[in-house]
């Protein structure tokens, strides 16, 4: 194993089709028009010294290190900012430019510490390398003149230092923050010799607007911006490309290692989802993998009130199998089930659903997508024919109008948000449909053309009203509809949405959206060029979540915004492998590839492959499992890599369901909240400890590569195999590639997927004979179902209504620095940005209740109550409050109710009627839960040897 070296071409690649041939140091080279001399030279294998240039940023031309001579032209232009021209003859190493470069380098080094041997960048310093390339041998000016050698170090950020004494003010960090991340948190303060890099208003990085994405650290050519982990551990000695285990963007990273220790995670430039960018979670928040809270030994206990007892793997697995068999013998084969993990690999997820179907003999398998994007599966399946986003992420670069509905990409999908913001800075228009004024509504150099601040729970009314404007103002793409869609269904739909009761004016009092804003947004989407819709859980987590997804699909079909670059309908998936867990047959009604279990032909494929008869009846969905447990017909559950107690709605109901089960098996990294009710704990493995694949929100199948041995001795797929074998159903895979081979054999959309292929490059499904190169864009010539199907979307108000007892509406979401239930990110330094869940409340609502910023408040609904501190802000509208669900001490889901989507039972997290009142600290329930939790986590001391 060695370090993966990525070539830095100095400037960005050009996509022009017209080619230009020039000569560099006597070597002919042909490149696209617009290419810089620097890049053309590098492509010819000739590296021109540089400091301020790097190929992830626009050319800048400030360091004067890349000077060249061009025959017939005066002077020595910078090669990074000078484009090639036909017949140009360039000299990169003439005596003149060598002398000039050496002189410039002398000036740099005269104001740079000469501590290379003890510098954290030693061995990986572009300044050091460049000094070597220009042949610097002495510095005539010495170091006794005016300098910055005593400039202080800002160590406020938990992940990197800013050592100003080493800064050469090349502006790469400033430009990375602007061009790549789009936050504009950094600037060059002062002029001339007094120039220096400043964060925010010349404040510490930690308190500035910096979002710690790491782009500046990556761009820095010296040790000025350096990871604290490198300062502590030294430079890495080998690296392995893998895929981030946080959100659904699926960023590729180089895990840079020293032995079996991760030194740092560096975004991989060739990663097709992230193109070398990262966020604070993937880049820095991997310390949970070695956190002391990790449980590395299997444990069992007879009752959940007993302390845990550490046992061998054999004993734990044997206990699981024995209990599950006992329960099935007593209560029937349908009395046990599984929950697959959207944090685990495709191969692991496939095995868990196979365990349920082949070893347990039922379809009681579900996944966390139940509580996030199951309506996407139903809605896009019904309208387009399959459950997946239609575009690749690159498509956003061709979008003219971007519609963000019920999503907060800068927090939930930050790397994609940066690309979105870049496109918006280039001139694309933005429509935000969200009850909150999310950051995208107004952020540096980006301002939404329309923000529709709808009342929570009125998505369908708003979508249908948008359609009303498009139909009644004759903004339909008639050719697209005629050629690509079912015309009868379209006619029914068009007549429905055209009814006056769906006009923006008629619905204004329902939705809270001013009619003129809604009309403007509809016209912009329909007529503004390529219209691309991106949506999140603000769409799906409603009693009409599936209906809203179909309403979105209707809009895209009606305006012809499907089937080409720059358009489409794109669900932003929450967890890293939500798409994959759905693809792999995690749902209780579908085998892998979204094929219903009642299909004889489909079942026969798996019956042949697995050698057992399969049930043709759907199994229990997660909320139904709890109901069935309370009723006594569901008594055993294997949960891999999910914390359903903290993440699922109506905590009281979930805990009651779990408490009613006789054998709960939690397979996880930590003793999570669900484990409070578990009888067996099986230690899990992090993404760093196993091979496999994740599928991101653009259907891209990315390789996950093991960079260290599993700390608990087994990768998760091995643990599932052990359970299956102990249950009497043999599974004997020796590597996840064999599992993927089985997936490809049995699932048509994965038929062309192999590890050999994925090892060369990622691919987007469908990948098969019909789509041998994968499918960056779906539904190009026809929909997956043939003709697109319009669905009538009658608005049915939720039954969760405000009233005198609960007059406010609570909606929930996520923070940038935390991930899902926080099990991983709470065990990293990310807690400095989000140490607790807070309740956002409008100043008017706060004033009415005597609540001041920072006060403790009691948040109550008909389901339960909790206490947390308030943030008084106009980010939420009057009548609406908002919080996150990252911290178990708050347990926001003790508030949410059991209302759910009509089609899928996806919970209605986004609408809960609540009351907020001043409080003097945590509630009695929180105190009781804390006691229960501490008691449930006791581990019996191992006997002395």
């Amino acid at each position: 194993m060695t370090m993966i070296e990525e070539i830095d071409y100095g400037t960005q690649a050009q996509s022009a089709t017209r080619l230009v041939t020039l000569e560099v140091d006597g070597n002919p080279i042909t490149v696209p028009e617009g290419t810089s001399i620097m890049r053309a030279s590098m492509e010819a294998g000739i590296k021109i010294p540089k400091l301020c240039a790097t190929d992830t940023l626009n050319s800048f031309g400030s360091c004067r290190m890349c000077l060249v001579e061009i025959e017939g032209r005066a002077g020595t232009p910078a090669s990074c900012t000078t484009p090639v021209a036909p017949g140009m003859k360039v000299h990169t190493a003439s005596d003149n430019v060598r002398r000039l470069r050496r002189g410039v380098m002398e000036l740099y080094i005269s104001d740079h510490p000469l501590d290379c041997l003890t510098c954290s960048a030693n061995g990986n310093c572009e300044l050091q390398d460049t000094a070597g390339e220009v042949g610097l041998r002495d510095v005539r000016y010495g170091q006794s003149g005016a300098n910055h050698l005593d400039a202080p170090t800002d160590g406020s950020n938990p992940y990197f230092d800013f050592d100003a004494s080493k800064c050469i003010v090349c502006s790469r960090c400033v430009r990375a923050c602007e061009e790549v991340q789009g936050t504009f948190a950094l600037t060059v303060e002062g002029r001339g010799f007094a120039s220096k890099i400043a964060a925010g208003m010349n404040e510490p990085f930690l308190t500035s607007e910096c979002v710690s994405c790491g782009a500046c650290v990556q761009a820095c050519p010296t040790a000025t911006l350096m990871e604290k982990s490198v300062i502590e551990l030294g430079q890495p000695e080998h690296s392995i490309v893998t895929t981030c285990a946080y959100c659904g963007v699926g960023c590729s990273f180089k895990a840079e290692m020293r032995g079996d220790r991760v030194v740092r995670m560096v975004p991989w430039k060739d990663g097709k989802a992230n193109h070398g960018h990262s966020c604070v979670k993937g880049r820095f928040a991997w310390g949970y993998a070695s956190h002391p809270d990790r449980i590395l030994k299997p444990m069992v206990r007879a009752k959940t009130t007993d302390p845990w007892k550490e046992v061998s793997w054999d004993e734990a697995i044997g206990h699981v199998a024995s209990e599950f068999k006992r329960i099935q013998a007593k209560a029937g084969k349908d009395a046990i089930g599984v929950i697959t993990s959207s944090r685990c690999t495709n191969e692991e997820t496939y095995l868990v659903q196979k365990l349920a179907r082949a070893a347990f003999g039922n379809n009681n398998t579900d996944t966390c997508a139940r509580v996030c994007h199951s309506p996407t599966g139903y809605g896009l399946g019904k309208t387009f024919g399959t459950s997946a986003g239609t575009q690749n992420f690159d498509s956003v670069e061709q979008a003219d109008v971007i519609v963000v509905i019920g999503a907060n990409p800068t927090d939930g999908h930050p790397v994609f948000a940066s690309r979105m913001k870049k496109r918006l800075r280039e001139g694309a228009k933005l429509i935000v449909i969200d009850p909150r004024r999310i950051d995208l509504v107004r952020t540096p150099h980006v301002e939404a053309a329309f923000h529709l601040p709808l009342r929570p729970g009125t998505n369908v009314a708003v979508m249908t009203s948008l359609a009303h404007v498009i139909v009644t103002e004759n903004l339909i793409d008639a050719d697209f509809v005629r050629e690509r869609c079912e015309l009868d269904a379209f006619s029914d739909w068009a007549a429905f949405v055209a009814e006056p009761r769906h006009s923006p004016e008629a619905l204004e009092s329902t939705t809270g959206v001013p009619a003129d804003l809604l009309r403007g947004a509809a016209r912009l989407y329909a007529t503004g060029g390529n219209g691309a819709i991106y949506y999140g859980l603000g769409v799906t987590e409603h009693s009409q979540g599936s209906t809203t997804v179909m309403a979105i699909a209707n809009l895209a079909m009606a305006t012809g915004n499907i089937g080409r670059e720059g358009v489409g309908v794109n669900p932003l998936r929450g967890q890293n492998n939500v798409q994959g867990s759905c693809d792999m047959g995690s749902f209780p009604h579908e085998l892998p590839g979204y094929r219903h279990v009642s299909g004889d032909a489909v079942r026969s494929i798996y019956e042949r492959e697995w050698g057992v008869p399969l049930s043709a009846e759907p199994g229990l969905r997660i909320p139904n499992m709890f109901d069935a447990a309370i009723d006594g017909s569901f008594l055993g559950l294997y949960v891999q890599g999910e914390d359903i107690l903290q993440s699922d709605p109506d905590t009281h109901h979930v805990s009651k369901g779990l408490a009613a089960m006789e054998c709960v098996v939690v397979h996880d990294l930590f003793l999570n909240e669900t484990a409070n009710y578990a009888h067996v704990f099986l230690p899990g493995s992090t993404f760093l400890e196993k091979d496999g694949t994740f599928t991101n929100a653009e259907r891209r199948i990315n390789m996950v590569r093991r960079v260290m041995a599993p700390k608990a001795g087994k990768a998760d797929w091995e643990t599932t195999m052990a359970i299956s074998n102990a249950m009497g159903y043999p599974m004997n895979y020796t590597h996840p590639r064999e599992i993927m081979a089985e997936i490809a054999r049995t699932t048509p959309s994965f038929a062309g997927v192999t590890y050999e292929r994925l090892g060369r490059e990622s691919v987007q499904w469908p990948c098969n004979d019909a789509n041998p190169d994968g499918s960056p864009i779906m539904h190009v010539e026809k929909f997956q179902r043939g003709l697109g199907h319009f669905v009538i979307t009658e608005y049915v108000p939720t039954d969760e209504k405000v009233g005198p007892r609960f007059p406010l509406l609570l909606t929930t979401g996520r923070a940038l620095s935390q991930y899902n239930v926080g099990a991983q990110t709470r065990r990293t330094a990310n807690v400095v940005w989000h140490p607790e869940d807070m309740l956002e409340i409008h100043p008017q609502d706060a004033e009415d209740r005597g609540i001041r910023d920072g006060d403790w408040v009691r948040l109550a609904s008909r389901a339960g109550d909790t206490s947390l501190r308030a943030v008084v802000t106009e980010r939420v509208a009057p009548g609406v409050v908002y919080t996150t669900f990252h911290h178990p001490v708050t347990q926001a889901n003790v508030i949410t109710t059991d209302y759910s989507d009509w089609a899928t039972n996806c919970p209605e997290y986004k609408v809960t009627a609540v009351q907020v009142a001043p409080s003097n600290g945590i509630s009695q329930w929180q105190e009781d839960y804390r006691d229960l939790s501490e008691n449930a986590r006791r581990i019996e001391a191992a006997p002395a040897k």
Binding site: D334, F496, S543, T547, P618, V791
Partner: protein, 68 residues
């Protein structure tokens, strides 16, 4: 499972399909319950048909499912 909760869920499903002009609402509701509800849910639902409040179209779908 609670018959009232199952009735509530079934009525939710009914309210979607009743508005679909191009579909046979009764058949679609019955199909949805068959495709997405675990057999024990259907069994409990059908066992309490006489006790629960159902929208007319949902009751028709349920009666269709109850037939052997």
């Amino acid at each position: 499972m609670s018959p009232d909760k199952l009735a509530y869920m079934a009525n939710q499903i009914g309210r979607f399909f009743v508005s679909q002009k191009s579909e046979d609402g009764v058949a679609s509701i019955a199909e949805h319950l068959t495709k997405f509800w675990d057999p024990r849910m259907r069994r409990d639902f059908l066992a309490h048909l006489d006790e629960i409040a159902l929208d007319p179209i949902v009751r028709q779908a349920a009666e269709r499912l109850r037939k052997p």
